[in-house]
Amino acid sequence: MSTVNFGSRELYLKVVYYGPGLCGKTTNLHYLYSKWPKNERGNMVSLATETERTLFFDFLPLSLGEIRGFKTKFGLYTVPGQVFYDATRKLVLRNADGVIFVADSQAERMDANLESLDNLSDHLAESKLALDKMPFVLQYNKRDLPSALPVSELSAALNPRKVPEFEAVAPTGAGVLETLKAAVRLVFNDQKNKK
């Protein structure tokens, strides 16, 4: 659910990073946090366990400059990836204006990717939203690892709809900004048709 505030002249949008545990969602946010101009971002909030696994969500507020006299603000959220945090995942996903699915490229994580993607469409369906109507992009992360599957294979399995897809190595930032840009573009275009 986006907000248009004519009082403060701000547009606010929410984007959620989704994906299996340890695929690199939090790392995407850490990278953006470290690179974003200080006065254009807020603090990063992480609700994590003692072992730094996401418990509820990470949150990073970013400003993206002005459009038509409105400051644009994005709230980036990550969901906890582990299967047993299903209830919290659902809460974080609520009111999302767009979703970035971060897939783990490693062959041994393919089942986890598929399961997480299924879980995403189930949750959206419960809120009467369809994944294929949602601004949605894919990121194939961990391209640096030896067991990374070819992109063609990941794409065939995870991206039947051929939404924008990006290769990434989140700790170095490769592909991180490109992924976000594509999502932002889809989100804005989607908002045009809404009311």
Partner: protein, 159 residues
Amino acid sequence: MAQQMVMYDQEFQQISAVCDRLAREASAKVVFLVDKNGQLIATHGGENLDTTSLASLTAGNIAATGGIAKLIDEKEFSQIFHEGQRDNVHINIVGGRVILVVIFDNRSSLGLVRLRVKKASEELSKIFDLLLKKADQPGAAESPFAEISDEDIDKLFTD
């Protein structure tokens, strides 16, 4: 559920005025209003606080307690109170839509805050009802989203 929330200047001023008055009448340190999405709508005070993070965490808090309510077959908990050593936080859902947060210390009391929050919530509820009606009218102010071009979006990332 509405896919977009629109806040007009007039209602924004009214809402800010309600928050200011609530802060005064309840002797509160900070008052802020957040939508369920985690976006800050209006604040009074809190210049030294990270209100953006507070807004997002408050929405998360409400979402989590709402989830708990559902599991034990309760309607949502409309009020939440956190008691601290020095500061206390009172959280309240207004009209099922927005979240009103009041931070206060021992210069005020829970009783006073509850009383004032009740009155402010009724006023805010009315304003939000009108706001929704207004946004539904065909002649409502044009959403800036409608005008956004591809170049606008490109420009966001070049500077």
